[in-house]
Subunit: 168 residues, 2 copies
């Protein structure tokens, strides 16, 4: 059994910064480039791990007055960033989790149900299988999401075993 190449994921060369790309997207839609939207893109661009809306909100609360945004605005802007192709959204344990999409290669995840850590991996084969299956069903595959859940080395050997195994 062959498995596609795998490598540490990182930023790939892209023409525009996330901020620029978002501004472009907003303008194309007749939306406005507001202070809040910029604060959010910039902050998100600085992060490199997965995060959820409340986490982001909490982080913004810790920044100077002028660099904050309210809860509704955070939610609204995250949705726009997904539309803009800057972020990818997935639902885990009942809440939405975001990760960078812009300038990052397609990848999937290992999820440790013990410590709730996400680890990224890539596999071209998965994509190929998706396409093959889709065409067999007259489907046009637009994307796929593969989540392999289990226990990481640490959680497997530690006493504090996995809890949330039912909430994939």
């Amino acid at each position: 059994m062959a498995v596609a190449s795998e490598f540490p994921l990182g930023r790939v060369d892209v023409a525009l910064t996330p901020r620029e790309r978002f501004a472009e997207f907003l303008q194309a839609r007749g939306k406005r480039v507001t202070r809040q939207r910029q604060v959010i893109v910039d902050h998100v661009a600085r992060r490199h791990e997965h995060f959820d809306a409340e986490q982001l909100l909490a982080e913004l609360r810790g920044t100077p007055e002028g660099a904050r945004a309210s809860r509704p605005t955070v939610y609204r802007t995250l949705a726009e960033m997904v539309d803009a192709g800057l972020l990818k959204k997935m639902v885990l344990d009942g809440r939405a989790v975001y990760e960078h999409d812009y300038g990052y290669p397609q990848h999937d995840h290992l999820y440790c149900t013990g410590c709730r850590t996400l680890i990224e991996f890539t596999s071209d084969e998965v994509t190929q299988i998706c396409n093959a299956v889709a065409s067999r069903h007259q489907f046009r595959a637009q994307s796929h999401r593969l989540l392999v859940s289990g226990l990481c080395d640490r959680c497997r050997t530690s006493k504090s075993r996995a809890r949330h195994q039912d909430r994939i």
Copy 2:
């Protein structure tokens, strides 16, 4: 590119009926075999499609007086059935969706973002890839979930295009 065998999914021979297996599970845990729990297993066993808690609840509302169960009981019992290995739970569009697990082969899904239909397919290769990736990361893979989303034939050609593409 080779893709694993694929076949219409159906009930596989198993020793016990879902009702019996659930009773066994309950007894093993010192839980009681109540009228409501039986009503729910039986009803679920009769269904063969994917469903969510509110759907099930609505269906039970339409049955004779003695064959109903309250919302909390439905939610509690579905969780128990997942524990018992009778049902599998997945989260789609923000709500939990259940499908049979007992006596059914492992499979994955195509999801049409237009009409929100789920289509099952099997692929041994996916499982193999999961295991290979997991072991490379010192993970013990317990399960995986692969969702290929896109548009089915009908939705692709109809005018009413997909909406909810962001809520996988």
